[in-house]
Amino acid sequence: MTSLALIQVGDRQLAFPHSAIQTVERCSGSQKRICLADQEWELVDIDERFNIIANILSESLVVCFKLHPFALRCTKVGSIDDHEFTPLPSIMGAEDCYVRGFIQQEDQLVFVVDMNSIMEKGGVHCNVMLGV
């Protein structure tokens, strides 16, 4: 049994390995960036399709990721055991799917996601937008 990080983003609860997280911080609603120990993260949200978008919510928590220049705003941060993990049914499979499976928590469905890939895609998207 492994413990995963659990965050609430909008209506969804997302789980992923703790190892993806550098730190969890508090922030103000108007804040755009966060700087810690010579590192800088851009505060972002993800939409219902896991696209990274400019921050539009006023959540007070942010998760700063290792390897990526983004900090994701969220309402809750916690952890969850993966002992009731259900893999994504093979019938649904697609190369672009970032969902690896699910964990049922009471009547809620937690999405276990490949957060590194979501952040990588977000990085490419930002580079295109900036013309990099």
Partner: protein, 150 residues
């Protein structure tokens, strides 16, 4: 030989027939969770008896949402005869545009599928039969996996 079957019209407009004994439960007004990035015919899951089931055949979403409520959903059981665990049942949820219709078909009603049906069901298409003016497919759900090959 005459057999009874359920004729199903999917919410995405396609149709199929299943054997009576495959039906596990009919659900109305059930919430489905949208899973971004999945193949177009199967982008949602439903919770049923503590299981997470793929939902096949839902209508295309016109807006980004995390939950969609469906009026008619049928839970179907099937067996994967090619799997190691032969005899073990698996389940799939099917999103319907209307309630299932009980029909009677015979071996003599068999016919060829349309090109559109072949494209939609691919390797999972087992046979077709004609009922009134419609060509209705019979499907092997274990072959709906994208990686399935003959």
């Amino acid at each position: 030989m005459q057999r009874d079957a359920w004729s199903l019209t999917l919410a995405d407009g396609h149709g199929l027939a299943i054997a009576q004994q495959q039906v596990q439960e009919y659900l109305s007004n059930i919430s489905a969770h949208i899973v971004p990035g999945c193949r177009s015919h199967c982008q949602q899951v439903v919770l049923w008896r503590k299981k997470v089931l793929p939902l096949w055949g839902a209508e295309k979403l016109d807006a980004a949402r995390s939950i969609q409520v469906h009026k008619h959903v049928l839970i179907i059981s099937y067996q994967d005869l090619n799997a190691d665990s032969i005899g073990q049942a698996d389940w799939i949820a099917i999103c319907l545009s209307k309630q299932p219709q009980l029909i009677s078909v015979s071996d003599g009603d068999q016919c060829e599928p349309s090109a559109e049906q072949e494209e939609y069901w691919k390797y999972s298409l087992l046979a077709c039969f004609r009922y009134l003016d419609e060509i209705i497919p019979i499907v092997d759900f274990s072959r709906l996996t994208p990686s399935y090959r003959h």
